[in-house]
């Protein structure tokens, strides 16, 4: 066996170990979710060979409150994603194409926001939401996240690579500014908007801290927040918690399967555009 082959085998072994490490929590979640009272088993083997059930899933799906959490997550993630696409493309377009005094300074300040960890603004933002009366409301879950510096930056970089001549041609053909933005620029940005949409949706679907801070009424809780309430004070209902987690992970898994290509593209975003 030559050196190259040994290297390859070693590499594969390492990758397999890493993959198992990554997939184990997922496997554990599914295993626990299909057992009645999983906490009563003492050994792994005992658990594997005991009867399986989908009862936890049926219970979770039929519980009213879980449905509310799920719906809230869908509403919030969808609105935030739509907001990021529609509003950020407008801001990005202006930064990419228009000239006005102070443009560079404003753009740099937008970028600077990227550096600030969200947790730093936790308390000021909370105070703001309280003052607006937005605690326990969709407003606090949606509006602060509708325009993000990351999306502005990503789209601005992409729009800058689109030849200006295309817009000039459209202008001569009789198109106005809005028409050019939404009928010419936006469709051309489709690949990057897909990436942005997926990232934003996933990010919001999983978002925990701020929805947790801004809601204390079950009616407005999203899935990640709601699930924590399965952790009771004295005991934890593992079976139902894991079934809930499984259902909440489902959209993410589906998105990853269907949009793999775009997600990988997103990692190299900015460098794309044929």
């Amino acid at each position: 066996m030559d050196f190259k082959r040994i290297k390859q085998i070693l590499l594969h072994i390492i990758l397999i170990i890493v993959a198992v490490g990554m997939l184990f929590p997922l496997f554990w979640m599914i295993l626990l979710s299909i057992k009645e009272f999983p906490e009563r088993y003492r050994t792994f083997a005992e658990m594997i060979f005991s009867p399986y059930t989908i009862g936890n899933y049926l219970d979770t799906l039929s519980s009213d409150i879980f449905g509310t959490y799920f719906l809230n997550s869908v509403i919030v993630a969808t609105l935030v994603t739509a907001g990021n696409i529609v509003f950020c493309i407008m801001v990005a377009y202006v930064f990419a194409r228009k000239d006005f005094p102070g443009k560079d300074a404003i753009f740099v300040s937008v970028l600077a926001v990227l550096i600030i960890p969200p947790h730093v603004v936790m308390i000021p933002l909370y105070r703001m939401m309280v003052n607006f009366g937005w605690i326990n409301s969709y407003f606090s879950l949606v509006i602060p996240w509708m325009v993000t510096p990351f999306a502005i930056f990503l789209l601005r970089q992409f729009i800058s690579t689109i030849p200006v001549d295309i817009e000039d041609a459209a202008r001569i053909d009789g198109a106005g500014q809005w028409y050019i933005l939404f009928r010419i620029i936006m469709p051309i940005c489709k690949p990057i908007l897909t990436v942005l949409g997926i990232y934003t949706f996933l990010g919001n679907w999983n978002s925990f801290l701020f929805p947790y801070l801004f809601t204390n009424d079950d009616f407005y809780r999203t899935l990640p927040v709601g699930l924590t309430f399965y952790l009771g004070k004295q005991s934890i209902d593992w079976g139902h918690l894991m079934a809930g987690a499984g259902i909440s992970a489902l959209p993410i898994i589906v998105i990853f399967i269907f949009f793999q290509k775009q997600i990988i593209q997103g990692l190299t975003a900015g460098a794309l555009k044929e």
């Binding site: 030849p163 001549d165 295309i166 000039d168 041609a169 459209a170 202008r171 001569i172 053909d173 009789g174 198109a175 106005g176 028409y179 010419i184 469709p187 051309i188 489709k190 044929e274």
Partner: protein, 356 residues
Amino acid sequence: MTKIELKNIVKEYQEGVRAVDNFSIKADAGDFVVLVGPSGCGKSTVLRMIAGLEDITSGEIYFGEQLVNNLEPQQRNIGMVFQNYALYPHLSVFENLAFPLKIIKTNKKDIESRVKQISSITGLGELLHRKPKQLSGGQRQRVALARALIRQPAIFLFDEPLSNLDAKLRIQMRSDILDLHKTAGTTSVYVTHDQTEAMTMGTKIAVVDKGKLQQYGKPDEIYSKPQNLFVAGFLGSPQMNFIPLDLAEGELKNSFLSIPLSDLSLNQNAGISGSNLTGGIRPEHLNADVDSGIFRAEISRIEYLGHEQYIHCKINNTGICVRDNSPGKYTPGDNIGINFDFKNMHLFDNTSLRIN
């Protein structure tokens, strides 16, 4: 058919840079005006100001009798073809062509018949369902052309439309554009840096350099009577030979030439004075001879083109290029005699302006 008039157009950028300086031309209805000049000379800026894509610092632009300075591009009734085609990449060829009509809310039936008509004129019939990226460069430019044509604009603008195409396709497209111009008769302004395109396509040529109009006229006028050294050197390939000359005792002289003023076709001898004059003579007006010549020079290089050749000589640091029809007769290193008719010589003063 609309005439175009540019009156003292100026384009100044914030930093005080004048991209276009006091530019005035007049194009009659049906003219095909070519703006030609080296890259960065401001010719595209002039075109973009005509299109309304660029603001004018001062001056006036008229389409017919109408002042269009303050009209938006879409109000000017123009069609424009860009260097990089500027097709809408997400739309099919059909949708690209239909785009201008859709915006003015043409009904579906009319759009379809117009697209059909225009695509058959431009030979795009088979490609209507394709996306721009599935087309070759030539086909893309044809789509751009068709899209500009479809609204039947009063004025056509071309911004170096052929410079992304290969040489063979360029010649083909050149004649296609001229054919379209002949049928439609639309007043056109065409920007290029290619002098061959300028000479072959333009009914009028405007030579531009450093934002200023150097000369404006018919191709043959510009070629045979260049108004200054820039125009003389820019048009013609290989370029005109420039020979430094001084005026002394009624003769134009340098170390190897002396030409009696009376032998030049001059209007007014009084205008000529002093030194640092430049004589210009095109390669095709020079003859090489084995024995006799007005002056003799050594051959440094021969460019063989098949049907003819260009002999490059050197004499006292002055390069001279001679067109010759007898390939094989000379070899580099030969000393040859060079003859020419003094009447073919262009004379420029020390400010580079034409004298004769």
